[in-house]
Symmetry: C4
Subunit: 277 residues, 4 copies
């Protein structure tokens, strides 16, 4: 994947995932908060499960496509692992990327199972997501041997986003439905996506001059740039969250539920699960 | 233990332990979930305790045998620690392995005590398991000095499984009965077992050519291979879990309990301890 | 910011923040504990929110001023990032400091939003504070390359206070209102403030001789000195806490609320949230 | 403190503290578990507080004595920190040890305050204990520069016990009264105490030959020896716990409380705080 496109592609996937998750969790929370205004039709338990099943299927499909592409695209190993004639491993890079896709595929498969079969413990989907992120970071971590300084550095910064995401997903096993953790995971996924693009631009600039990969000033700039990406990701997440909240509210106001005159709206209930937790 | 058999033996123990635990926890959870269908006879509190006592006794026995084997098998130190004539330590390797067995034996003894005596705090068995895993990782960690690159690397990867198991067991002190943590521990134990076998095959290949222990490509392959072992362990655990769940369900359907007509089955109760936790 | 003033300025800010927070949390806890004596007028929910809004606005304002100062003060980059003529980055130091201010500004903005708009999850303000502290530490961490030994060491010690603050703020996401965590965060903020002053005195002594930056004894002294700062910070926090508690108590005694004769004061209720948690 | 006595002294203190704590927590838990048999006279809330106050006073006293001894014993710095004539720091070792004592003194002072004054949050005593342990480890951590290999190694092993103790005490802030954590802290304190003695015997053998401080086999033995100390500490703690439990039980059986005929003894209540937690 040593190319601009090889970094832009996963970056795009993570960007899409981050935005999709932000929208999903914002919508669910907004409808939970406005329960007394009849918003349950927006996010009933059944519709939530259907959404999860669709999401998992899509992820599963793309993981499968990704694995196939890594194996059979031009220059891929075509499922051959070891060349015993020449005594060397075949295209280990492609195999490693396929392994990363494999774990995201496993996470999606488990999520599919969990949300369509009753006997499976619900929290398994977050655990598998955490394992998938961890595995991605784990392979990247041992991926960096013998590269130039800036190359190592940009990938190390990526690890903050990846392991951060794994940690947050693992915490969600215990604090499921905590909106703060969910939004943090969305931000870290967005960060990961945009940082993949940034890595592409730094290591394989599509036009313009090459970067000096051993200049310490470049390293300092790149570190700061990572902070900016994080700030940008958080800005995107919070604007999306606010937009969704406002839209849900104004829509519900226009179409009052039947029991509206009977219940007085609770604007803020400090005992609700997701605020106290 | 620098031999193929020396790695295959503990590997087999951990594989057996992982599969046994998976079956145990799956059965208990399945019978908890189907309480209203009369499944309590499958896993009553008394039978659970009896099972724990038997399991602990078996572990205790094998730890003891392991310690004796390390001491008195051919080439063992026979309880001599220091040779004052030649001024050197006697067979430190064997002593270290015996120490690892000692801690698993202690964990089993405490578990035996906890499940047969009322005054002992229940969570101690998980704490001691965590300590036993931690101690194993701790000794391995200081075990690796001056070996070749690949040798160090495969043992470092083992540490992920070992310390991961210790961490999960420690978390279970606070979240006892959380099925997600239990299955994760089972996966990590299986991973540890199969990885021991892998180490044996890499460092002491029973047939075929030796591995080049300083080749960086080998290291990259081995890292990826560890991910595959993890995926495999998770697959085994989940298929076992599904099988046990289905078998318990279908059995209970065939032999309906007396009050079946009175209670309607709760297919999913989202408030149950092990899902929310 | 390589100057005495450049370290004294943020140090002063953190000192003020630490003292302010200590006072605020002490007052709130004292009034919570003396609820039955009518102290709710001191810290009603409305007045608490008003205070939070004012605090956030002030922080937002100073962050903005800080960013402007870093950009436009003498020698600042004036928003130019890259000098394409000379092919070098413009004043990366100033840009990095501005980035730190940016994150504290973001945290303040989110806090403002959270406390003035109902739909936002309350715990976001602590999360953003944790992110701001983490970002500060993150940038400092990659800031130290190629400096002399003592310079690196004093900044590494600073990281203990910074990352400690980030960790405590993150824990507060889950344990909001836990006074022990709040006071710990206050201590760590004070520690950070006074240590900034100490760094100024060590690296840029305003008068007296220069320090030998490569002497190992200096390093040992500085380590111990950090402990003293921590002890000092904890002393200040606890004396402030005691003073506020006593003042609130004695004031309430003098102005008895109406229902005083009816309720007997609960001197200690061990079930209250912030003691058990 | 570079002497055998200098390590045996703190070792003895920690050994005494570990045994004392084990006895205290075992007694309290035994009397909590046997509440219905009238054991509350053994550990009423008032007597518990009195015990805590006495314990804190004793610790405070010895910390003070320790600080004085470090300052004024033969070769101490007598409160002089810097010799401006010769331009060197005075006896930094002694100052560092005095700083460690200072933090244990602070912890004792806070514990005294917390248990004798109602307005202070109870969990502060555990927090301060965690800070005291952390500070001890922190100073040791930067203490090891430029020593020989084995010297560094035995002190690093000590750090496991010290930071482990700090972590457990910090967890107790959130899980106060969890007997598993309390017993773990007792074990780690005992481990620290006996390891101080071991360090003394390794680095300053009172009789017999010197150890070769650069021999790798010695290092491997010492690592294993640390495990044995841990096993030993856990054995001591568990035997003490069992003894106290049995004694309390048998004593209560002989002197039945008045309401014994009315209540049937609950042998095991799985809902009790300290088992589930």
């Amino acid at each position: 994947m040593g190319s601009f496109k090889g970094h832009a592609l996963p970056g795009t996937f993570f960007l899409v995932a981050g935005i999709w998750w932000t929208g999903k969790y914002s919508l669910w929370r907004a409808s939970r908060r406005n329960k007394n205004m009849g918003s349950t039709r927006l996010a009933s338990r059944t519709s939530q499960r259907r959404l999860e099943v669709i999401e998992s299927s899509v992820v599963l499909f793309f993981s499968f496509v990704g694995m196939l592409a890594e194996q059979f695209a031009a220059g891929g190993p075509r499922l051959r692992l070891y060349d015993s004639a020449d005594q060397h491993w075949e295209q280990l890079m492609n195999w490693q990327h396929a392994t990363m896709y494999l774990f995201f595929g496993l996470a999606a498969a488990v999520s599919l199972l969990v949300h369509s079969w009753d006997a499976a413990p619900l929290a398994l989907d977050r655990l598998m997501l955490a394992v998938a992120f961890f595995n991605e970071g784990f392979i990247f971590f041992y991926h960096l041997h013998g590269r130039s300084m800036l190359d190592v550095h940009v990938h190390q910064l990526l690890l903050f986003a990846v392991f951060g995401g794994a940690l947050v997903a693992f915490l969600e096993v215990f604090h499921r439905g905590n909106v703060v953790l969910e939004l943090l995971r969305c931000s870290l996924t967005l960060l990961q996506g945009s940082w993949f693009w940034q890595i592409g631009f730094v290591l394989y600039p599509p036009r313009g001059p090459e970067w000096d990969l051993d200049d310490h000033n470049n390293m300092m700039f790149v570190t700061m740039c990572f902070s900016w990406h994080l700030a940008f990701a958080m800005l995107v997440v919070s604007s999306l969250y606010c937009t969704v909240s406002c839209v849900v509210r104004s829509r519900l106001r226009r179409t009052p539920p039947m029991e509206m005159g009977l219940l007085k709206p609770r604007d803020r209930d400090p005992e609700s699960e997701d605020e106290i937790l």
